[in-house]
Symmetry: C2
Subunit: 343 residues, 2 copies
C-alpha cells in the first residue's frame, strides 16, 4: 500500500497524479493561523443581502421566502447571450464567453448551515439544483451548468447566510473536460461506468468509505488532494441530478447532512470547504460516459485554524498532500454523527 | 480585444483556457481581509531556524554564513533513493516517489526580501540556483528540479527570513508536463521556440510588457490567471538556467529586483507571491523545445488585505480572473522603480 513512504497516486477521473508525503505532518507549524469559523446565531440579519425581505445591491428586494430562493447574481462573472467574437492575433487567442450566474439560498434562516438543516430542508435544495440544472441547461448556448458552494470566509465566501452558486456557460470548463475524457475512454473500452466500477471496488475494500445509504456512498477518493477531500457518488449510473427520483433526492440530502456533520465535528468548527457537482454537459450530446458526483474540497489540515497551503510546489509542479486518504477516512469515520453544537 | 466583455483566453504553454470577467471588480467586497504583510526590521532573530549560527529542529547548526546558504529540508516531502515500488489494484494505481528537498537561504539578514537586496546579492542567489540545478539534476533518479519561493504568511510561508525551496524528484510533475507538451509540439512543427516567438510578439505589441533589459523581459502573460501574475523570460532560447553567463546572471538578478519592487510598491506592502522556475527536465533527454522562464503568482487583488480567492468555480470548473492582463500591466508599469520603504 506504500503508505509509509512518499508516493504518487493516480486520479482516474482527471488523469493526473498527486504526491503523498505521509510523514510530513510531523513537522512543527509556525506559520499562519486562520480565525476559527464559528456558527452564526442570528436567524435574521438586516444587513444581509440574502435574508428574506432585504434589498440587494441591484435594488431588488428578496421575497419573504420559505425554503429555498434563487436569483441571478447581481455581480455575475458571466453575461447571457453575448455574440460570439473570436480574437486571434499570432499566438494570442481569445473568445467571448456567455453564461448565467445564479445565487441559491438554501434557507431563509441566516444562522443555518447544511449540517444543521433537516433532511427535508436539504431535499428542497436538491430539488432546486435539479430545477436550475434543467432550466439553465435547456437554454440556447448554455452547454455546462456548474453547481457549487463556497463555505466559510477562508473560502472566499463573503456572507455566512447559507447559500451556493451556479455558473452556467457556453464552454465546457477545463476540469469537467478532463473528467469527461477519462470517463469516455473507459466507457468506450468497457461499456461500463468508470465511477460505478470504482465505487464497487471501494465498497469491497472498505478502507476509504465514510457513509452510505441505499442510493449514495460518501468516500475519500484514493487520489484525494485536499486533506479531508470527500466525494458523494450515486450507486446508480446517472449522468446528472435530474434523474434522481424523490426517494433518491432524500437519500442525497441525507448523506450531505451526514458528511457535513462529520466535517463540523472533526475540529468542532463550522468546517469550511468548496463543494461542487460534476455532471454531464448540457450541450445536447448523449454523454452515457458521465456518472455524476459531488465533491468537497476542505482546506483545513491540522486544526480549525491551520489549513493546507496549495502554494509554490503545488502551483508550479504537482498537487501534494500530507496525510493519506486512508488516515483521513479513519479520522472522519470515528466521529459522532450528531453535530457538536447539539450535544 | 474583447476587453469589455466576459471572455476566455488560451494559455499557449499549458493548453488551458482562463475565464476573464473584466467588469467583476465593481462588486463590493464584504468578505475576508487578510493581515497586511509588513517588512521585518530585525536583521537577526534568535528564534529563526534560518539565521546564521542558530540550531535547527534536526539538531544541525547553521554556519555563520555570508551571502547564500542551502541545506536539505529537515521536514522534506520527498526522500532520496527509495526503491521503485508500484501498487496496482484494479482502478487504484500508485508508485513510490524519490526526491531531494532543499531550503535556499537568500541572505543571512533576517529582515531582507528580494526587492530590498542588492543586484549583487540576488546574483548570488541565481548562482546558487544554477549550482543546485546542476548538482541535483546530475543525480541518478532526479529527473526534474523545481525551484520555487513561497513569500508571505498568506502563501503558507512559515518564516519571513528570505528563502526559497527546491524540490527535485524522479517524476516530471503535471504542470511541467503540460508546458513541455505545448513547447514540444511547437518545436516539432516550426523548429522554433514557442516562448521566443511569443516574446517577440509581446515586444512588438507592447501592451503587457513590464520591464526589460539586454537579456530578459518581464511581462504579464496574455493568459495570466492570478491578478498580478508576471513572467520573466530570457531573450535567448535557453533550456535551463545553467546556460546563463555571468552578465546574464546579473541581468536576471536585476529584473527580479525590479519586478519585486513594482510588486511591493503596488499596495505599499511586502507583496506575497509564489514564484517558480520552469525549465528542462534533467532526465537525460535533449529538450530543445524548452525555453526556461520564471513566473510569479501573487494572490492580492484589490488591496494589501484583499486577495483573489481561487475557490468553488475555479476549483471545479476553470480558473477565472477579474481584471484584464492589460489593466494589471498598466497598474504595475506606472509605479516607481524605487522601493516605497526607501523613499
Ligand atoms: O515547506 P514549507 O514552507 O513549510 O511549506 C509550504 O510550502 C510547501 C511547498 O509548496 C507546501 O506543501 C506547504 O503546504 C506550505 O505550507
Ligand atoms: O461570488 P462570490 O461569492 O462573491 O466570490 C467567490 O466565489 C467566486 C467563484 O468561485 C470566486 O471567483 C471569487 O474569487 C470568490 O470570492
Amino acid at each position: 500500500m506504500l503508505n509509509d513512504k512518499p508516493h504518487r497516486r493516480f486520479n482516474i477521473l482527471t488523469g493526473e497524479w498527486v504526491l503523498v508525503s505521509p510523514h510530513r505532518t510531523k513537522r512543527p507549524w509556525q506559520g499562519k493561523k486562520d480565525v476559527k469559523s464559528t456558527l452564526e446565531n442570528k436567524t435574521y440579519d438586516e444587513t444581509c443581502y440574502l435574508c428574506p425581505t432585504n434589498t440587494r445591491a441591484s435594488g431588488d428586494t428578496n421575497p419573504d421566502y420559505n425554503g429555498t430562493y434563487s436569483f441571478t447574481n447581481d455581480f455575475a462573472a458571466l453575461m447571457p447571450e453575448l455574440p460570439v467574437e473570436k480574437y486571434q492575433n499570432g499566438l494570442l487567442q481569445g473568445q467571448t464567453e456567455s453564461g448565467i450566474c445564479k445565487v441559491i439560498c438554501f434557507s431563509p434562516n441566516h444562522g443555518l448551515t447544511l449540517p444543521l438543516m433537516s433532511v427535508e430542508q436539504i431535499t428542497q435544495v436538491v430539488q432546486l439544483w435539479k430545477k436550475e440544472f434543467l432550466e439553465l441547461g435547456a437554454k440556447e448556448g448554455i452547454n455546462y451548468v456548474q453547481i457549487f458552494e463556497n463555505k466559510g470566509a477562508i473560502m472566499g465566501c463573503s456572507n455566512p447566510h447559507p447559500h451556493g452558486q451556479i455558473w452556467s456557460q457556453s464552454s465546457i470548463p477545463e476540469e469537467v473536460l478532463k473528467k469527461q475524457t477519462s470517463q469516455r475512454n473507459y466507457w468506450s473500452t468497457h461499456s461500463k461506468s468508470l465511477l460505478k466500477d470504482y465505487l464497487e471496488q471501494e465498497l469491497e475494500l472498505d478502507e476509504r468509505i465514510l457513509l452510505s445509504n441505499d442510493h449514495f456512498v460518501a468516500l475519500v477518493p484514493y487520489w484525494a488532494v485536499w486533506p479531508y477531500e470527500a466525494m458523494i457518488v450515486p450507486r446508480k449510473h446517472y449522468q446528472d441530478i435530474s434523474q434522481l427520483n424523490v426517494e433518491e433526492e432524500i437519500a442525497f440530502a441525507a448523506i450531505i447532512k451526514e458528511l457535513t456533520t462529520l466535517y463540523d465535528n472533526l475540529f468542532e468548527t463550522s468546517f469550511p470547504y468548496s463543494s461542487g457537482i460534476h455532471q454531464r454537459p448540457t450541450d445536447g450530446g448523449s454523454h452515457d460516459e458521465w456518472h455524476f458526483h459531488m465533491s468537497f474540497y476542505p482546506p483545513l489540515l491540522r486544526s480549525a485554524e491551520v489549513k493546507k497551503f496549495m502554494v509554490g510546489y503545488e502551483m508550479f509542479a504537482n498537487p501534494q498532500r500530507d496525510i493519506t486518504a486512508e488516515a483521513a477516512a479513519e479520522n472522519l469515520r470515528k466521529l459522532s454523527r450528531v453535530h457538536y453544537s447539539l450535544r
